[in-house]
Symmetry: C2
Subunit: 374 residues, 2 copies
């Protein structure tokens, strides 16, 4: 059962019921334009990560600005993207098990499908699924690029995997997945750059070993919103996978730029619209948005445009605000905007984006990959 | 768009794809029977909290064992419960705004509906909505019972609110909401008891003031899985609102009993079914369950039946395991059960319970109140 839409097209923002996921369309479009322009100028490909937004309407807007397609983490996300008109999807993740791989192979009959691999048995499973549907799947070998998660060590094991992929009749060796996820949130500019230097060395080492083995490496793909300038300038990566840049969350806002200032180059476009539901004492207000309405894994949300008030703690359905010396009345019924600490898991709590322009609802976009965990 | 069911009835557990939310039906029924028996013996009413399970199939199973109805936190949850056959729903929370209150009033034409209040203007709004639909709504005055969230201070303000409710033609003053949420997770037995002593004093003080004002207080309602034995034994509360007892999460498992042992009196029935998707090095395995598949606000999930392996960190779609000296191979493709740190927000990530008995799928229950934030 999907939840009903929280608004109607044309409705003033003030009338939109809460909790709701708001998208400031002007800011959102500026963010998309900015990265599209930067990647076009550098000659590098952009394949934004759809795990962030889970919404084909947004994927199509990215593709309309030059993106070659999208990344996903789950087969269900890829299915939702293809169903929503996306023709080129890279599942930048290991996919294990017959059921999921056959779904992916079937999807590859409808669209261009790629995925990542870090295990030789898995290559055989992917080939079996692709053969069953007579489908062709592009495969990237994921190398460990510094974040201690998936991926084989850069070296002979990666070469052996690439060779196994090349030997599989229905698979195409597409290159290397080299993504340093944990580097995205390193605060210091130089520290982030050093982390990407390590990832770059891993990628180059492996590419050189592939060359020595007479295996061409068509592409190295990776990067995120926190580090893409480094990958883009490296001459090593040919494709960027940034996701959060469309929204910018509070956590990315804490990253420092080269001058030591926080904020980064994108603006907050994603907000959770909340109502003050209780105001028991002067120092405390309670919002109708708690753990089920905003992700707290990267810290509590920030209040947009309300000074000296902090979102102190979340329970399932309540957010408790600590109210300092503020001009905002925070009266019961008042609505405010929260900036999520982490946009990806926040989006996954909602079924709809409420797109706002000039304080009016202009778009209602279903988040069709919401909850697509398999 | 709701996600497809992750299994078929009759399927062996091993074939159920991951991530999926598993319910061990034998344990789940034992948990329900245990609390039903305890409340029946004490003569106290049980109104389990449906914010935990968000599923009318579970609500009906609780009611079949003697529960008088369920609690909810959101109007959308109440709508899902009534649509699923529940005839008596208490929204144990403040509901603000015309749109939500009119939905609640309309629902009160189909079922017995109650809600909580801590603000005089809100009483007038509830009356207006009820009048518009010529509906009758039961109203509890929420008092601050120790958790520093919603609720008026025990005292004259509570009496004034009760008087306002009594004066409203379509509202019925049903009693006091006295719930100490943060006490549920205080580890020490005596410390939890002391916290409930404070809540009890708040409730008794207010009830006595109501009596002095010639206002009868029909019921005091509250309590949760961590403290219900205290409320039940107090002679003050007439209704318990326990929710998590049906599932028992890892965090409740860390509460200490009177003897100083952790665990409490209920067993874990709820699990997240996960697959090892990568095994890059001996010390590390990666699961296909991350922040979007299990709540981490009360700590990382535990592994069921796998010793010396810990779920170390979660990213959006990955769970990184630290592998110590274990007999479990944790090979790519192996499936394991995770015990969520916090059941309520974990359930809210899924659309289906996969009910398991004797290692076979016996039930597929839609989580129809999933995402019902409004």
């Amino acid at each position: 059962m999907s939840t009903p839409a929280p608004a109607e097209i044309g409705m003033p923002l003030d009338e939109v019921d809460t909790p709701a996921l708001l998208l400031d369309l002007d800011v959102f479009e500026r963010n998309m334009d900015k990265l599209a322009k930067a990647t076009a100028a550098s000659g590098i490909r952009l394949r934004p990560h759809a795990k962030t937004h889970k919404c084909p309407s947004i994927a199509r807007a990215q593709i309309a600005r030059g993106a070659v397609g999208v990344c996903c983490q789950k087969v269900g996300e890829a299915e939702a993207m293809v169903a929503g008109g996306v023709q080129d999807v890279y599942v930048s993740n290991e996919i294990v098990g017959r059921s999921k791989l056959e779904r992916l192979a079937a999807l590859a009959k409808q669209a261009t499908i790629s995925l990542a691999v870090d295990n030789a048995d898995n290559v055989a499973q992917i080939e079996a699924a692709a053969a069953k549907f007579d489908a062709r799947i592009n495969v990237y070998v994921e190398i460990a690029a510094g974040m201690r998660r998936c991926g084989v060590d850069p070296g002979p094991e990666a070469v052996a995997l690439a060779r196994a992929v090349k030997a599989a009749p229905h698979l195409h060796f597409a290159g290397l997945q080299a993504y340093h996820g944990s580097a995205q949130h390193i605060r210091g500019f130089d520290d982030r750059r050093k982390a990407i230097d390590v990832a770059a060395e891993a990628a180059v080492t492996t590419r050189d070993l592939l060359r020595q083995a007479s295996i061409d490496c068509p592409l190295i793909t990776g990067a995120g919103t926190g580090t893409f300038r480094f990958e883009m300038g490296s001459g090593i990566w040919g494709e960027l996978q940034c996701g959060s840049y469309v929204f910018m969350d509070a956590d990315y806002g804490r990253n420092l730029d080269q001058g030591g200032k926080p904020g980064g180059e994108f603006e907050h476009s994603l907000f959770v619209w909340a109502t003050v539901m209780s105001r028991p004492v002067r120092e405390r207000a309670v919002l109708d948005v708690g753990l089920k309405g905003v992700a707290t894994d990267c810290g509590m949300p920030l209040l947009d445009g309300v000074a000296n008030v902090t979102y102190e703690r979340a329970s399932d359905d309540h957010g408790v605000l600590k109210v300092g010396d503020t001009n905002h009345p925070l009266a019961v019924g008042d609505k405010i905007k929260l900036i999520p600490g982490h946009c990806d898991p926040t989006v996954n709590l909602y079924d709809w984006y409420v797109g706002i322009r000039n304080n009016r609802v202009e778009a209602l976009w279903p988040i069709t990959a919401r909850g697509m965990l398999r």
